[in-house]
Symmetry: C4
Subunit: 298 residues, 4 copies
């Protein structure tokens, strides 16, 4: 079953139209870098996964003083090597799809681009090259080849459960942010800058640290009144934060037991037109007319 969004992507990734010998070359390369059916296509994808992981490893190791210090030049060189490699790959992808712009603006196309930028930007603003490990997101596409479709399905399920709870979560966040603003301000007034609550934004940061039960301890209430308010906030925070768990769990439980609630036929009574009959019903529950043989639609 292909979802609309998959269709759209497929469209963004479609090969350039083969209108000559050159088109044949482009179709062939397209098959390798976009496809996974041919051995070459599979080898390319595996090579890509390795290159992505290696390039991220370089960035991570470069940041460790004991490694990045003595081997700075090597690391820098490897970083440029991988970025140039991925730049070429990006150019080839653009060259071989039918609608380059549509590809460039697709989700994966944008990630491909963003993954290249940090190295180039670091020429202007030093220090940003570390951000190129955003290319870990490129793995999402390559995962296809590892027969991970069932994992992907789970991923989609999780996403659906969250999406179905979208509005609940927005409301929840709005309530939390209101509470954070008000309680943070109260603590700013009660404790004041001399106890670490240097401004309302700082106090709001503290309020979030407290209500999510992270509790760094870099800012803590010192006065008795502040400690009392903080205690209240912690209990409140736990209550409030039980809500997202409740939302997600209820959604997941419903997803599982969805098969259990009685299946409704899409059938309508031919006599009175009422719908919503259970699939096992034989007579209309509204007017008593015999229903046609129910076609159970999954």
């Amino acid at each position: 079953m292909s979802t609309p969004s998959q269709h759209h992507q497929h469209d963004a990734f479609r090969p350039a139209e083969s209108a000559g010998p050159e088109g044949g070359w482009r179709a062939h390369v397209h098959e390798i870098i976009f496809g996974i059916e041919t051995p070459a296509g599979r080898a390319f994808d595996i090579g890509l996964v390795v290159a992505i992981l290696l390039s991220i490893l370089v960035v991570v190791l470069e940041s460790v003083p004991a490694i990045g210090g003595p081997h700075a030049d090597l690391m820098n060189g490897l970083e440029w090597f991988f970025t140039l490699l991925f730049t070429i790959e990006y150019a080839v992808r653009l060259a071989t799809v039918r609608h380059p712009l549509r590809y460039a603006l697709s989700f994966y196309g944008l990630i491909d681009l963003i993954s290249l930028l940090p190295t180039y930007v670091s020429l202007l603003i030093p220090g940003t090259e570390a951000l190129l490990d955003i290319r870990i997101l490129r793995l999402l596409r390559v995962l296809r080849i590892f027969k991970l479709s069932r994992y992907f399905e789970e991923f989609t399920r999780l996403g659906e459960a969250l999406a179905a709870s979208r509005r609940k979560i927005m409301v929840f966040l709005a309530v939390v942010l209101m509470a954070v603003l008000i309680l943070g301000t109260v603590m700013y007034v009660v404790e004041g800058p001399e106890n670490g609550y240097t401004s309302i934004p700082a106090a709001m940061y503290w309020a979030i640290v407290t209500m999510t039960t992270v509790g760094y301890g870099d800012i803590t209430p010192k006065t008795a009144l502040g400690q009392a308010i903080a205690s209240f906030m912690m209990l409140l925070g736990w209550g409030i934060l039980a809500v997202p768990t409740g939302i997600v769990t209820a959604e997941m439980t419903a997803q599982r037991s969805g098969r259990r609630t009685p299946l409704r036929s899409t059938l309508r009574c031919g006599h009175c037109g009422s719908g919503g009959h259970e699939v096992s019903s034989r007579y209309c529950r509204n007017c008593g007319t015999a229903l046609p043989e129910p076609a159970r639609s999954t």
Copy 2:
């Protein structure tokens, strides 16, 4: 569907009776500041949202030393500007409703008033002006205009889930507070003031910090016995704090499946004897015979 509480509010917000030309003017202004049907009313509400957000931004920025320091006079001026603006608005609201006192004592009326006080009180007690960002709560009313009714419904649902668990939560809090008092005292005796447990209230604050898993680390057990008791408390605390999550989740799961599972009547068909009909059914779903008037048994 209008709930009783909505009715009451509506009543508190009803326009002054139009008993002359002056009444016509008041009705017109009422339409603008309370209504959302006319373009003027909608424009007023949007302006109000902007004014509220700006006034809160002023308070927040004023508290940041790097901004509030050099621009103290500007910030203070803006603060007074907004407060006077909202004071006029409050006066007009009072003037144009039929029952000013009822409005003043309604939920939104009280918030309108409380949102004004901090600036005036700060003349007597400096430092309290920051509290005026409680006017964020005024947004609750204004949200109407943004077609957020469905979000509001979710909000009400969350509230209902919590309200339905009210007694469970009270019992839970009572148990937690008893545990906090007793375990806090034990730690006060075991660790003593030399390890930071300076008094029983301080030890209770520590106990709440520990059992809610916030764990600032500003007070920590130093003795082996104290650490053993604290370890026990953390495991206990996790067990205890699984309870509100359980309460909220069970409530939400019930709310969801409540809507889905159709109510079954205990009624049996007089002709074929089959049972399990939905309470709203009028004919047997098995043989089509008319069912007696269904007595909905809760």
Copy 3:
């Protein structure tokens, strides 16, 4: 519905047999201090609640240096006053019940006794008097008078949910403690005393602080390997600690929906003896014999 345990308690609290004029006096006093039906009995209970709360307030205030320091004598006097008061009450309770020993060994009888001891023990071991706020538990009994029976029912429900999950929780605790021992030891070996992991018990304390997500920060890993193991433990800990929430929530959801799963009659078929019929069944599902009119037992 009186449960067996309530019956037992009732028995422990039964008045002394009235075998003469003196018995009449004892029965009368018994009515006052154990009963809540007479105005005197209710007044006694209210007075008791006030006395308990005041005596706890004295203990808490005494521990605060700013209050307990200057007023040490007053506080000490009040503490002895309340302890003597409760000692007399305890003696009268013993004198007026039929089975003093049974009362003394009942749950509430033991709490009554333990609530007295700290003050006397503090003559021998100074500092233990703070422990007398364990008398907060005495409130459990007195709560009867405040029409809190429905809250009590909720309390019992929570207790039942936990009790039903007893074995699951024991297994869970055993697994957690094994993980704590092994992972704590690993960290003791990896990080060593120089980084704060001074002994295996200290490292186990740290492991519990980490896996319960309390995270004081008084002991933290300093080496890269230690931080990697700690990161693994945190993710593991979250997974493990989702378990008690799952246990409690599943139990509560089941409790709620318990009314939904088909009610089973305790009836057995007169012909084949099979049980477990639904209350709405009219014929034995095993042998087809007509069942007697089902007596729905709640």
Copy 4:
């Protein structure tokens, strides 16, 4: 009901074939150290539990400076005593099972071996002897004798719930690790080494500490932007971490209600036409007519 894995273990533990007088001796010893039916077998197991617990106690106490310091020789001696004891036991186990290699490679066989190594390894690498408290895992086998089978069943259930959610948990972990890598890198760039984010691995450690709500506070954001990103991460982290709770809870709820809700056949009674019979029913619960052989439809 013996599961396949139990069967396999049983096979690994089968006694050596008794093909002579020597075989009889080995069978007898096998009965003692593997069996729990004979008094000697039970006594052996109890002795083993005591020895395991004592040997762990020795390791734990040895690590405490106040005890391990003055009594280092005694502790060391006891440690070697227990290790030699368990080495002999291991040799005897190998000698009396039919397939020594299969035993050595079985789960319990490997634990038996690993439990011995630390003491020997400590001759080469001092400090590793503490690791021998991994022999706590040996208790898992010995628990049989304490009639803990029902606890074991719960343990298996918990394990099943987790195993059933295996793929969901893998996907979840992958998402968390991607988020940790990206957000950790962002914080490394924003805050930099001067604020404690000395490398990307250190920043990832911080990100895990934050998103699991442990929050040690050994590394905390100092800049306003860093605090804003951290606040976002905490809220996100809570959302993300509600997911494993949701997974486990949904699984447990399903496990529970799976056992309770009787399977309904889609069959209808041929006489009265009523449906909704349990799959195990043989006669119509409504009219008593014999039902056709129920075809259990999953």
